[in-house]
Amino acid sequence: MTAESAPAFAAKDFKSDIKPVWCPGCGDYSVLSSVTKALAELQTPPEDVAVVSGIGCSSRIPAYTNCYGFHGVHGRALPLAIGLKVSRPDLTVIVTGGDGDGYSIGGNHFLHACRRNVDMTYIVMDNQVYGMTKGQPSPTTEPDWESGLVPGGTRIRPFMPLVVALASGANFIARGFSGDPNGTAQLIAEAIRHPGFSFVEVLSPCVTFRPEQRNWKHETHPAPVEATNDRGRAARRLATDDGFNTGVLFYDNRAPYMPPVDANLTDVQQFDREFAV
């Protein structure tokens, strides 16, 4: 593509005029930038994209994009997004949220979204804490992480989102790091292109409640092996990985789920009448 045939959409065209209220230093700024860079590469018009989220700092992303957005209910972004995608399959549906939103209150929906395999991309900004509600531990928090709110730590084994996604049937699994926004943009673009349910876990530091996560830039590293489409091999790798391998880690080619469309059901009011009590 030459400068003369400049692309129709730049990353900026996917950003709204609303200035984010995240703490300066928060990894979520970079994830927003990765999402907009990925969309610019795909050249999907903003009006053909819907960004759906739950509640949390990370879930504020829809307001900061220029796409259609739905800032939903805590933990319920995935069922909302599934409803949207099956009724408007023409839209590119992206779901964003945090580890609390997606793995705790929304954990059940996470399992079934992986299993159902509707064509969408789920981006979880994992900071191993509830940022918005001031620093409570989340399902991915280390058992020995102590704070004024958790003296002695939770002493509970952390949830393993990638292993759970694999076991539940996700069609594409990747891990990114917010400190590498260009690499993460590439993962998001690949996830969107990949048919079915694509899951991208992004390590995104909460500099306010987990300032030690600034060190993640020294801990993350590209996965030493190529992505596999062998579920058994992926299971072994994901179960033993150090939590800091980045890149595409697994892909499959299961056909995405689409419910059969009732050709007679063109009239929404008729549908409404069927539910009248």
């Binding site: 593509m1 030459t2 400068a3 003369e4 400049a6 692309p7 900026k12 200035k19 984010p20 209220v21 995240w22 703490c23 300066p24 230093g25 928060c26 990894g27 700024y29 970079s30 860079k37 590469e41 001031k134 620093g135 704070s147 004024g148 709110l149 990114g176 917010s178 400190g179 590498d180 926004p181 260009n182 690499g183 943009a185 590439q186 993962l187 673009a189 530091p205 500099v207 306010t208 409640f209 600034r214 830039k217 993350t220 590293h221 590209p222 980045t246 890149g247």
Partner: protein, 185 residues
């Protein structure tokens, strides 16, 4: 992932010589570096404004305007030569992001204006080091000419920021304390 992190441990001179080998490569990298730096400074200015830190917002805003002028000039040069635009992950930086781009995690809502200037100086020096590393790899003459031109511009930026910093001979590296800290102790 982007070539940056995967080149961790690579010889930086060899890595740059391989990834930035033609005048078009130099122009594309220079343009991406300046426009990404301008975008990040804009974002940082917005962050400081939202967090009621107008003095620091002003520094970032000023840097954004300077980088934008540079980026616009480079965009015109790219257009004139028909330089190919590439996906952000295909640039060959030595770090995950372009050298003039302030890493997101460097920002703090209470950071002072002199601390912001110090960051800006660090960025300009990294940009200069990028071209110096490229020049250290004995590039072809046409690459050398462009890299020398851009290195000279970065040297000017370094001196400009240093001049502004002369007003602050002792910059306190600590972030001022927040009397109403969010963290429960």
């Amino acid at each position: 992932m982007s070539p940056g992190p995967s080149s961790k441990g690579d010889d930086p001179i060899k890595a740059l010589a391989a990834g930035v080998a033609s005048p078009d490569d130099v122009l594309a990298h220079a343009h991406a570096m300046e426009s990404e730096a301008a975008d990040r400074y804009h974002e940082l200015a917005d962050q400081m404004e939202i967090h009621n830190n107008p003095q620091t917002a002003e520094v970032f805003d000023k840097m954004a305007r300077i980088e934008q002028i540079h980026a616009d000039k480079l965009a015109a040069m790219c257009a004139e030569r028909g330089v190919t635009r590439r996906p952000p992950w295909e640039y060959r930086w030595l770090d995950p992001e372009a050298p003039e781009v302030t890493p997101v995690e460097e920002a703090h809502y209470l950071m002072t204006a002199p601390q912001a200037l110090k960051l800006a100086l660090h960025n300009e020096k990294r940009a200069l080091a990028f071209y110096e590393t490229l020049l250290a790899g004995s590039p072809p003459d046409d690459v050398r000419a462009l890299a020398e031109e851009f290195a000279a511009e970065e040297r000017e930026h370094v001196s400009l920021v240093e001049k502004w910093m002369a007003d602050y001979p002792d910059i306190d590296p600590h972030i001022p304390e927040d009397p109403d800290d969010a963290v429960a102790h």
